[in-house]
C-alpha cells in the first residue's frame, strides 16, 4: 500500500518544492522546541545543581523525590484551587459580558468593549504592580475608599486565607477580557437564521439560550476553557509580584515553586523533573477536556 503523506494531493513536481519549503520550519521547531524539551527530559533524570559543578550521575528517582516534596504538594493544591476558581469565574463573567455585548442595540458598545479589553493589553507584571499599590493597606486607594464608606479594611496580601482570594480577584480582572473576546467572536459568527426560525416557532429567550446559544457555543467555550486552564496552571507572574508565595506558603503555585527550585536553588535536575510532571498534567487535562468537547458535540 502506498504511504500517504501531507503532500500526496499535490502534483508530483510540486511535492518536492513543498517539502523544501517546510524543511526550514521543521528545523526551527526541532531547534527551539524539541531539542530543549528532550534535553530537559535528559537532565530531569540526572543530579545537577548548577553551582556545584557539571551534570552528575543518572538518577531516575528525581521524579519520586519531587513527588514526596511537601512544598510541591502544597503548591499543587494551591494551583488547583487557583485554576478552578479563576477558570470558572472568568468563563461565567466573560460569557455574561459577551452576551450583553452581543446585543447589537446596545449604545456605545464598542467603547464598552474597548474598556473591557484594556486589562488584557497589560503585561501581568504591570497588573501585579498596579494592584500591589491599589491594595496597600495604609497607602492604597482601595482601603482608603473602604474606610471612607465605613467598611472594614482587609489586609489583602498579608492574611493567609485572603491572599489567594486576592490573587484570584486580580487574575479575574486581568484575564476575563480574553474570554470576552473569544466568546464574543463565537457569538458574532452564529447564524441568524436559526434564531429567526426559533422565534417563528415561539421560543422564549431562555429557550433560545438553552437550546441554541449554549449548544452552538459549547465548542468555543471549551476552547476558551482549555486555553485559560493551561495558562492558569502555569500562573507565576502575579504570585511573584503580589505575594512571593506568602504569607507563609499560602499562595505558592507550582510554576512559581519550579522557578525557585531552578533559579534560586539552581537544582536543574529536580526542577526539570517537576516541569515534566506539570507538562504531563497539562497534556492529560487538555486531552480530557477535548474528549468532553467531542462528547458534547455528539450530544447535540
Amino acid at each position: 500500500m502506498a504511504k500517504s503523506s501531507f503532500f500526496s494531493n499535490l502534483p508530483k513536481h510540486d511535492q518536492q518544492t513543498a517539502r523544501n519549503l517546510v524543511v526550514p520550519a521543521m528545523l526551527g521547531i526541532w531547534v527551539v522546541v524539541l531539542f530543549p524539551l528532550l534535553y530537559a527530559l535528559y537532565v530531569s533524570v540526572h543530579d545537577w545543581i548548577l553551582s556545584q559543578g557539571g551534570i552528575g550521575s543518572f538518577n531516575f528517582s528525581n521524579y519520586f523525590t519531587v513527588l514526596k516534596d511537601p512544598l510541591l504538594l502544597n503548591s499543587a493544591k494551591n494551583t488547583v484551587v487557583l485554576t478552578i476558581s479563576v477558570v470558572v469565574l472568568e468563563i461565567l463573567i466573560g460569557f455574561g459580558l459577551a452576551l450583553l455585548l452581543n446585543n447589537k442595540g446596545i449604545r456605545l458598545r464598542n467603547i464598552y468593549l474597548f474598556i473591557l479589553l484594556i486589562p488584557m493589553l497589560m503585561p501581568p507584571i504591570t497588573v501585579g504592580l498596579i494592584w500591589r499599590l491599589l491594595l496597600h493597606p495604609e497607602l492604597g486607594i482601595i482601603n482608603y475608599v473602604l474606610s471612607v464608606i465605613g467598611l472594614p479594611q482587609p489586609l489583602w496580601l498579608a492574611t493567609p486565607n485572603l491572599a489567594m482570594l486576592t490573587i484570584i480577584i486580580v487574575d479575574v480582572w486581568h484575564e476575563t477580557a480574553f474570554i470576552i473576546l473569544v466568546l464574543l467572536a463565537g457569538l458574532t459568527s452564529m447564524p441568524e437564521e436559526i434564531y429567526e426560525a426559533a422565534i417563528i416557532d415561539g421560543a422564549s429567550s431562555r429557550q433560545k439560550f438553552q437550546f441554541i446559544t449554549l449548544p452552538l457555543m459549547a465548542p468555543t467555550i471549551l476552547v476558551a476553557t482549555i486555553i485559560r486552564m493551561i495558562a492558569a496552571l502555569k500562573t507565576y507572574d502575579l504570585v511573584y509580584i503580589l505575594t512571593r508565595g506568602g504569607p507563609g506558603i499560602s499562595t505558592e503555585t507550582i510554576s512559581y515553586y519550579i522557578y525557585k527550585v531552578f533559579f534560586v536553588a539552581l537544582d536543574v535536575g529536580k526542577s526539570s523533573a517537576m516541569a515534566f510532571l506539570l507538562l504531563l498534567v497539562i497534556i492529560l487535562m487538555t486531552f480530557l477536556l477535548m474528549k468532553v468537547m467531542q462528547k458534547t458535540e455528539q450530544n447535540y
Binding site: 553551582s51 493597606p137 496580601l157 498579608a158 493567609p160 491572599a163 504569607p247
Partner: protein, 443 residues
C-alpha cells in the same frame, strides 16, 4: 548556480565574522583619538539603588577619559540572580555582561562554580587600586574568596537602626516615657529594649481610635526582605547561622528567642500589612512619617533627607542595631569569565574605585567601603554620621559564605513567613531551619 553558491557562502562567511566580532567584544581602536577604549561598549548589570544612580551620574568622566561607552542595565534586585546565572554559565568571552556587581550572598556560589576572573595580577600591577584601602570586613565579604581576590567592594549595606530623632528628643514624649517606665528614654541597647520602645511609640495620633503611627516599619515579604531583617535580631541576640568552617551554629534556644522577638515586633509595633511588605512599602511608611524606626540599610539616611522622596527630611538619625551587631551587606565589582571585554571592564573598576571617584560618590550620598573615604574630612563634614557607620560596618556580621546562600535565604524567608502567618510555631521554624541549613552547607 555555482556562482550563486559562492556568493552565498561569501555572504555567510562575512556575516559569521561580523557576528563573532560582536560576540567576542570589540577591538579597541586607539589610533584615532589616543583613548584606549575608543569604540568599546562596556555592558554592566546593576541593581536599581542610590549607589547605582551615583555611578550613572559619574559615567561621563570615564567615557571622556577612555573613549569607552558604558551601558548600565539597571534591574530590580529580585530579577538579577536569574538573569545573571545563564550569562555566567556562557563560554569564556561570550556572555552579555563585561562587568557585574555581585551581592555578598552570591559570592561563594559564583566562585565555587568558577564563574569569576581572579583579579590578583591586575591589582598587583595597578597604580590606583590597593586592597588594604578597604575596610577588612568589606574585603572579607565582597573581595576575597579562599585566599584569592575576585571582587573589589563597591558599596556597603550594613544594616542599622534608622530612627526619628525629632520624636526621640521631643520633651513631651520623653516625659511620657519617664512617667510610664520610671526611667529616661534612651536608645535601645538590646532587642527587648527595642521592642519596649517600639511598642511605646506605636500610637493613635489623631484620636480616632485607630493606631496610625508605628514604632517599627518592617518588611515581612519572602524571601530576602524578611530574611535580612530577621538576621539582625538573630545576630543581636547572640546567634549565628554558620561558623567560618561552614558548620551550622544556629541553636534552637537563641533562634526561637530571636524569631519570637521578630514576630512580636511585627504584631505589636509594625503596620498591619507588614507581613506582605517589601523594601519599597516599608520605606514608604517611614518616608511618609508614619513610623518611628526602621531596621534598614545605613545609607537610607541621605535618601530620607531628600525632599523629593521623603517627608521626614532632617529628622532621621542612624545608630547600630539594638544589641550592637547587625547584618553586614555589600556589593563587589567583578569581571565574569564570560566577559567579552575584561580589559575595558578592569579599566572601569580601576576608575570607579579610585579615591577621587569613590569620594565623589560618597559626597553624593553613596555608602563607602574604603577607610580613606570614610575618614575623609569633606565626607565627614557633609555626613558626620559616617564615623558611626564605619564602626557599624566593622562590627557587623555578614551572611554566611555558603555557595547555596540564595537557597538558604529562601528557606529562611519561608519559615519566618510561615511563623508570622501562624501556620508553624517558632520552634518548628527553627528546627526546619537548622535541618535545611545542614543539608545546604558546603561539604
Amino acid at each position: 548556480m555555482k556562482k550563486k553558491l559562492v556568493v552565498l557562502l561569501a555572504a555567510l562567511a562575512i556575516m559569521s565574522m561580523l557576528l563573532s566580532a560582536c560576540a567576542k567584544g570589540e577591538t579597541p581602536d586607539t589610533t584615532a583619538s589616543g583613548k584606549p577604549f575608543e569604540g568599546v561598549t562596556i555592558n554592566v548589570m546593576m541593581e536599581g539603588v542610590p549607589d547605582t544612580e551615583y555611578v550613572q551620574a559619574q559615567l561621563s568622566q570615564f567615557e571622556e577619559l577612555t573613549g569607552a561607552k558604558v551601558n548600565i542595565e539597571v534591574l530590580n534586585y529580585a530579577l538579577m540572580h536569574e538573569k545573571l546565572v545563564p550569562q555566567l554559565t556562557a563560554a569564556e568571552g561570550s556572555g552579555s555582561y563585561d562587568l557585574i556587581v555581585v551581592d555578598n550572598y552570591w559570592v561563594a556560589e559564583f566562585n565555587r562554580a568558577g564563574w569569576l576572573l581572579a583579579l590578583d595580577d591586575r591589582i598587583a600591577s595597578s597604580e590606583t587600586v590597593q586592597v588594604d584601602q578597604y575596610l577588612p570586613s568589606m574585603m572579607e565579604m565582597v573581595g576575597t574568596y579562599q585566599g584569592k581576590t575576585y571582587m573589589l567592594p563597591f558599596y556597603n549595606y550594613a544594616m542599622a537602626l534608622v530612627y526619628r530623632n525629632d520624636l526621640f528628643t521631643d520633651p513631651t514624649i520623653q516625659q511620657e516615657y519617664k512617667e510610664q517606665f520610671g526611667k529616661d528614654i534612651a536608645l535601645p541597647t538590646s532587642i527587648p529594649e527595642y521592642l519596649e520602645l517600639a511598642k511605646f511609640m506605636t500610637r493613635d495620633t489623631d484620636g480616632n481610635g485607630t493606631v496610625d503611627f508605628y514604632g517599627a516599619s518592617m518588611q515581612g515579604l519572602r524571601p530576602d526582605p524578611t530574611a535580612m531583617e530577621f538576621l539582625n535580631y538573630l545576630y543581636s541576640m547572640g546567634g549565628t547561622m554558620y561558623d567560618l568552617e561552614g558548620n551550622v551554629t544556629l541553636t534552637q534556644e537563641v533562634g526561637v528567642a530571636a524569631l519570637d522577638a521578630y514576630v512580636e515586633a511585627m504584631k505589636t509595633s509594625a503596620p498591619p500589612g507588614s507581613p506582605s511588605y517589601g523594601f519599597d512599602e516599608a520605606f514608604a511608611i517611614v518616608a511618609q512619617g508614619d513610623a518611628f524606626s526602621y531596621v534598614t540599610y545605613n545609607w537610607m539616611v541621605p535618601v530620607l533627607d531628600d525632599p523629593e522622596k521623603s517627608e521626614v527630611v532632617g529628622k532621621m538619625k542612624v545608630t547600630a542595631v539594638p544589641g550592637g551587631i547587625g547584618l553586614l551587606g555589600g556589593w563587589g565589582w567583578a569581571i565574569p569569565k564570560s566577559s567579552p571585554n575584561p580589559d575595558a571592564a578592569w579599566a572601569f573598576i580601576e576608575w570607579v574605585e579610585s579615591f577621587n571617584v569613590a569620594k565623589e560618590r560618597a559626597l553624593l550620598g553613596g555608602a563607602p567601603t574604603r577607610a580613606d573615604v570614610f575618614q575623609d574630612a569633606d565626607v565627614l563634614a557633609k555626613y558626620p554620621h559616617y564615623s558611626d557607620v564605619e564602626k557599624i560596618v566593622a562590627d557587623s556580621i555578614m551572611f554566611p559564605m555558603q555557595s547555596r546562600a540564595p537557597q538558604i535565604v529562601e528557606v529562611l524567608g519561608r519559615v519566618i513567613s510561615e511563623t508570622i502567618a501562624g501556620s508553624i510555631t517558632s520552634e518548628e521554624a527553627i528546627q526546619q531551619l537548622i535541618t535545611e541549613a545542614e543539608n545546604l552547607a558546603d561539604k
